[in-house]
Amino acid sequence: MEFDNVAGISDLQLNSATPYATASGDQLTVTTLRYYISNIKLKKADGTEWVQPESYYLVDEALPSSQKVSLPNIPIGDYTSITFTIGVDAARNVSGVQTGALAPSDMFWNWNTGYIYTKLEGRSAQSTSGAVIFHIGGFLEPNNTIRTVSPAMNNNIIQVREGRTPEVHLQADILKMFTGPNTIRFASLSNVMGGANAVLVADNQAAGMFTVDHVHGN
């Protein structure tokens, strides 16, 4: 799986010279973008599912190698749907110290322990402070921001065969974090660290941040 981070129709560049524009016309320059993808599942047309064990990845725009995720040992077959969680399941938020992608880092809140699922930081002329800080996380109701999505495959089929490694190219459109069910304007909301406002962004993420762009048969 490849996660291609974009801002609308543009490929996302950190610290871009020209700001991107949100659906509402707010300007945005991104300095940091990281998000967790977890619990990846593939489903065949007959409904049988393959669930990846220990499925946790941290995608970092500043680290190209993190944007390509390889899933080993998938049983041969034709898979017609893909499902994953944006974030980290509740269980791993409280299971003690973890390793690998889940090792404690600045994607973890120490004072209110739990993972930051998506971290987007940058600047905007519309923000009163000039800064844009969106730390989306939380697993306790009513501020649970764990979202599981199954982006439309647009009739693409992932054909897993002996000696073949198909590639699924996904796009993650950061501008979709600020539009959808909830319109986010930086003039009134530019600093989010969990809580009710994080839920607004998570709902936007679930509504269409991730799309399947194309699938390579390889």
Partner: protein, 354 residues
Amino acid sequence: MSHPFKSVLLWLLPALLVVELVGCKPDADVVAMEEVPGTKVPGNFPAPQYGAEKNPPTRAAFELGRSLFYEPRLSRTGEVSCGSCHQQFVAFANAGHQLSHGVEDRLGTRNAPALQNLRWQQNFFWDGGAKNIELMPLAPITNPVEMDETLDNVLRKLNVDTGYQRRFAQVFGGSGPIDSYQFLRALAQFTAALTSSNSRYDHYSRQEAGGTFTAAEVRGLRVMRQKCGSCHAGELFTDESFRNNGLDRSFALDSGRAHITDSRLDVGRFKVPSLRNVALTAPYMHDGRFNTLSEVLDHYDHGMVESLTLDPQLRRPGQQPGISLSAQERQDLLAFLHTLTDEQFLRNPQLAER
């Protein structure tokens, strides 16, 4: 179903082992290994949250955890260790400090709680923000007014110390650098070992030798169960809930549990602390505002104020909120509270800095 012969063997095995042990005399140079503290669940305690099976205690890992607990290099300036603000002789609270001093004498915002029986806690801190004993130390380590250090820097410092390199390798095996998993698992070996279960009350509760109570202490226990026991419940003397006990009319400085839940219903609620070793853990409350137990009882009897989230159990129809205590009840309560002091825990050399 298991094979009958196999199950007979399994039953026989311990018996054979016992015979072996009884039959042999230990060699002169074999000294019985002292058990790692806090490994067993005391007879009068419930099942722990963080049972020994979650991070099986070993001598080397426990001692490594102890070194880390008393290691000032965990702080940015190399001056503040966990043990600086959590002192064994006062049940790992901070003696005489309303608020504790972090690096460069920066003052904390809440009273340092006693560290005891952490294996049984569902969450940590006055607001319950830390939800696992292994990750709990990250907050004090990184808090600017406490140790003001980063996890990466802590690991860097440990990794250039040959003593720690050797000891971590001994506990975790492998030849890689010390990582956050190893560091936090080792530290949890010590924090989970801080079991206080041998106060005079415990001996009384378990009907052991040394468990005699005076008439006043027996009456005090009764008052405690009747008037304080719905919150300071059970053998751990806390139900681990968050409650507003009428300290203030508003909580602008510290919203307590609401800091974590973002809920207005949680404003002014703080974790109900255990009463174990309470005679030693002054000053009291989340901000350390009361210096003596007598002041605390004054507060409960006639010092409370109303606020929106005040615990309903503290409301008294037709009068200000509180818990009515007669002079006799106060005296008995104080007598009882002193039976919760656990000298064995406070003086256990295995838990001390060395």
